[in-house]
Symmetry: C2
Subunit: 368 residues, 2 copies
């Protein structure tokens, strides 16, 4: 009996001992220095003698010591965590953004706490959680709720930036493409290629990306004295985009050029036009999207699109947030960037205006 107990104790003891992660005090003890010395060894730029440093490092290795970032954050009042809330992950553009943002943030020494939001639901709890973790900053990527959430963050004095969501009141810092201009350039392109009957498959009403792009289309058509565009809502999802496409084609005098509020919908429409309807995009019909998702460039798709400069935008987003964090401020600027109309095969090409870029892409610029 006693033996068994002892065996059990022997089995458990080392387990428990190794389960417990080493603390700086234990490392200090083993190294024969103070806890301050351990702290300094693991703090970049702190002054420690090489001798002490070595002793600490040896002890740390022996004990498999890792500084507890939670404790560090608590005392430094900095978590080095940025919360990212993102929607529409089914739109391939957002994984691309996420990937680059992750790389940018980790380069800046920050970790990313990710919240994927679905439509309208469950948003306040998310915000609550996020603020409880004392994240140093928040990035809100394209959601109908972004603006309201951003305002809550500001109230809580947490630096926040929005991506792809404009704040007309210009109160919340953000990074967006000039969507009005984007809509305009796309329309100019189609007009230059000889199109007169333009259709628009809209995204979700109220989201600035979709609304502004549409406004650009409308203004441009009107400026040219052409009839207004036809529209149908695709709500940024494929099934609805496809029925919107049907709706547009079912009207009388259907459009011979269809602009989709993003590439995600455009790719689906393009595909159905080709495979189901037997149309030859670029000849029988022109289809254009916005964003510039990678897949659109691959042969077999060749989607003409107005590409957002994703690296530039992510850089502006990260840098803007860092500025706010460093200055302990919730005010920052609104960054508006220009994109490029990437000429590919899904829309009829105008006679002129194309420029070949260094990266091999063919870009079209309106005259003016």
């Amino acid at each position: 009996m006693v033996e068994r107990r002892m065996n059990k104790a022997e089995r458990d003891a080392p387990d428990r001992a190794s389960m417990r992660r080493a603390t700086s005090a234990e490392v200090a003890h083993l190294a024969g220095v103070s806890r301050s010395a351990v702290s300094r060894t693991f703090t970049l730029g702190a002054s420690v003698s090489p001798e002490t440093r070595r002793k600490v490092l040896d002890a740390a290795t022996a004990l498999r010591y890792r500084p507890n970032q939670l404790a560090r954050s608590l005392i430094m009042n900095r978590s080095l965590i940025v919360a990212v809330a993102i929607s529409y992950l089914d739109n391939h553009y957002y994984p691309q953004v996420l990937e680059r943002l992750s790389a940018w943030l980790s380069g800046a020494g920050y970790r990313m706490l990710l919240f994927i939001t679905h439509g309208e639901q469950h948003f306040d709890p998310v915000l609550e959680e996020l603020l409880r973790y004392r994240v140093d900053g928040v990035i809100l990527a394209s959601s109908a709720q972004s603006l309201r959430l951003a305002q809550e963050c500001v109230k809580a004095h947490v630096p926040v930036m929005m991506f792809n969501t404009a704040d007309r009141a210009a109160a919340i810092p953000s990074v967006i493409a000039d969507n009005l201009k984007a809509g305009s350039v796309v329309t100019e392109y189609l007009i230059a290629a000889g199109h007169r009957r333009i259709g628009y498959i809209a995204g979700i009403a109220g989201e600035s990306t979709s609304d502004d792009r549409e406004a650009g289309i409308a203004q441009t058509l009107s400026r040219h004295g052409l009839p207004p565009h036809r529209r149908a809502a695709g709500n940024f999802n494929i099934p609805e985009a496809l029925s919107a496409f049907e709706t547009l084609r079912a009207g009388d005098d259907p459009p011979d050029a269809v602009i989709c509020a993003n590439d995600h919908m455009a790719l689906a429409v393009l595909q159905v036009a080709r495979v189901r309807l037997g149309l030859r995009p670029g000849q029988d019909i022109s289809i254009i999207g916005f964003d510039g998702v990678e897949i659109g460039a691959s042969p077999g798709f060749d989607l003409t699109t107005y590409a957002q400069p994703i690296d530039l935008m992510v850089e502006a987003l990260g840098a803007g947030l860092m500025r706010m964090i460093d200055s302990r401020s919730t005010i920052g600027e609104q960054v508006v960037v220009d994109g490029d109309l990437v000429v590919r095969a899904s829309a009829r090409r105008p006679a002129s205006g194309m420029v070949l870029m260094d990266d091999g892409r063919e870009i079209w610029r309106p005259k003016t």
Copy 2:
């Protein structure tokens, strides 16, 4: 001069005051109770009188108080954070996984610290960071490095599960589809449809998803006494998948059925076959992928695929990790699930074996 100073002070003071986030002590003071009472009010299931609770809640609201989760984690020795390391976000399957995993974890009360890994590089720093944050668990999704990283986590006594990566030694808990069987079923399907010359566009050598699927193909062909499959490596990216496709077609007696190691490559190949080569998939050529990405189901693609049961897998992943966390253990089981061959138009259909599911999908099952 004095006036200016006072103005400045007046402007700054409230800022600084409101910048400082309220602590439980301040709330306790205002509510006229102890800090424990505040703590209990914000702890689910703790015993507080309604009276106290109300006083605390009122004070908390007045001070915009939010419990500091970092401090809470420090003392409770639980961060309620799970680290997720994921690769291949360009493959649409992984955003789908991420989305569901995020939902699952948040339902379980956990937050997700996301690390996006790119190929081989920069991996140890990631792991180091992740462990410093005292995450309660780690999920490693499909990376060549998953296994090595997982072993490091185990060493550090952190519960870890792998997704889509098999550990032959069965030491690391994981969730995978039965890829050997998947490869076999796909091959049986093509054979049943009359194909004899099978090509395989592989993923990255050494990753079990690609290797096991290929082994299933090889075994099945051999079992039927058919010639071995031809192969070319697509390495899970589109450009290489397309040249692999060219390579396969350039050989003599080229395959009339091409299996791709995942849908991501299959969609690109399918598209090129249709648009560039003018082939009619399902008639002139059969193309099949693995995973069951959503986009493959949309009209115009109609990709025949071996679908992984993503919800089931995410559930197993989350539940498995929770079990390990709750039992403070790093040992767990390997879960292997079966998928379904989803019949669509990109591959020739066998005469029989189809079953119509409740969700509208048409599934094929081998006779056995």
